[in-house]
């Protein structure tokens, strides 16, 4: 059975990966042997300079999900490349590095540094809702196209644009990224949200608002992937509330090339491998030889 997928000519041995910001310190938990079975790894977004992140509390539980306002805490791209990346590369599967710039110039430098570090692909996080600005790159089609075009100009490796769901028409943004030359799209990032502590009449997050993730967002994210798949030609890395094989299958049937497990890693760190096994079983059960037979096979 052939589970392999490809993005911009690069082959991944299966469609299951992990979403940025949800899989740190995996080395303490997994055997390398287990990790090596995943299709790819996408570590937490790095920025040009270190970021200390948002004040606590940074997370709150919600019905079937969570809201986070981590604030892209990270050591900065240089320390990431010297201290963390070698460990990730040593696992021996493709690493897609997520970057986020505060402006075009930062995006350019980040893309160049990541290229020089020798990774499989770069993901542009255009959609983090926690940077404290009034709007996001990911909400402005012209800005999306421009960042992607710039990144492409400075990158030898494939460029993937990660989109925010906090927009009126995500297919329009997806089309702008494709227009800019993106090799793939990741969707979705988290939905802006908040929870109020009624006794204190305050937000339950130190940063006031945050991003909702987990099964609560899955039906909306599946619909968005469906909309985007209809509009564009480039591959989609889909995510949003994948807890079990069926959830990943929904995305693949809707048109996704890869499916990333995010929040579920916090609830059951065995989820990515369980999803992989489940996808395999599904293909067997349905007598399919290749994952490509399933992709975008939604009946209307």
């Amino acid at each position: 059975m052939d589970l392999s997928v490809s993005i911009a000519g690069i082959k991944f041995k299966n469609p299951v990966t992990v979403a940025s910001g949800t899989f740190g310190h995996a080395e303490d938990f997994y055997d390398d042997k287990e990790l090596r079975r995943l299709g790819a790894l996408i570590p937490k977004t790095v920025t040009l300079f270190p970021r200390q992140g948002n004040p606590p509390p940074r997370i709150v539980e919600t019905p079937a999900g969570m809201i986070n306002a981590i604030g892209i805490e990270n050591p900065g791209v240089d320390i990431f490349i010297t201290d963390k990346l070698p460990l990730l590369k040593a696992i021996g599967i493709p690493v897609i590095v997520s970057v986020s710039g505060a402006n075009y110039e930062e995006f350019r430098i980040l893309v160049e540094k990541v290229n020089a570090a020798g990774v499989t692909a770069v993901e542009l996080n255009l959609s983090c809702p926690n940077l404290g600005k009034h709007s996001l790159v990911a909400q402005d089609p012209a800005a999306v196209e421009r960042v992607v075009r710039l990144a492409k100009k400075h990158s030898r490796i494939p460029v993937c644009a990660k989109l925010s769901p906090n927009v009126t028409d995500i297919a329009q943004i997806a089309a702008a990224a494709e227009q800019g030359g993106a090799d793939a799209l990741s969707l979705v990032n988290t939905f802006q949200a908040m929870v109020i502590d009624v006794e204190k009449r305050r937000s339950k997050l130190g940063n006031f608002t945050g991003g909702l993730s987990g099964p609560a967002i899955r039906p909306i994210a599946v619909f968005m992937v469906h909309q985007v798949y209809r509009r564009i030609k480039i591959p989609i890395i889909a995510m949003g509330g994948i807890m079990a094989p069926d959830d990943a299958l929904q995305y693949i049937i809707a048109g996704a090339t890869m499916a990333a497990v995010g929040t579920a890693n916090f609830i059951d760190p065995g989820t990515p491998l369980a999803v992989l096994r489940g996808v395999e079983d599904y293909l067997k059960r349905h007598g399919m030889q290749r994952i490509s037979e399933l992709r975008g096979s939604l009946q209307s």
Partner: protein, 256 residues
Amino acid sequence: MKKIQGVYKITANQKISGSYYHLKIAAPDIGRGVLPGQFVHVRVNDGLEPFFRRPFSVFRGGKSLEILYDVVGPATKQLAAKRPGETLDVIGPLGHAFTLPDKNIRVVVLIAGGVGIAPFLTLTDKIRLKKLDKILLYGGRTKANIVSLKAFRDNGCRIHVATDDGSAGVKGRVSGLFSKIPLDPSTTLIYACGPRPMLAAIQSFAAQHGMRGELSYEEVMACGLGACLGCAVQTRKGYKTVCHDGPVFPLEEVVF
């Protein structure tokens, strides 16, 4: 030790006093490797409500894994309804343990508020045979919420109790017992676990008298593995994760 995830059988789950329960799980692979102050991350059911796992200090390790818990909300309520024979999905052992006293230390003072006493039993197990003066200062709301202290007495602790309503020990907060702490920083070590205001009071008391020690801190957790960076605490060295860098921190490090 490598972190282990498994589904284990509950062997006992008993109410011990007030809203406190004592849970035993047959998880020898986790239980045998536990160090004092480490915790386990428990999924109380297979569904989505509550969504997160819940962290609990290991009350006692070994062949069975024991947890002492206070029923305070949805997860602990569901936990209290579990019967022996049912199973729990547990990840552990997690986090940094207490540093054991070195050879210059003569007196160890454990300060616990409420269910904060949980991580101290394994600590006293470890130092039971050492020639140390072991003092336990224990504060609770009322007599009904004071756990049995026999195991601590058996481990050689001298115990002083305070309750908010005076129904056991002296009336008032555990800070009213600070006078029992020998003020010699070179030979005395403080370990603290309990509500934040109590930890803050201990930190300032220690600073005032130049005392050293460690505290165990709590924050809401998602992964428990250092992956999400959700359990950040402000320290004098920047934000740290409670699950991975903690939950045990030097007394002076956490910023309250």
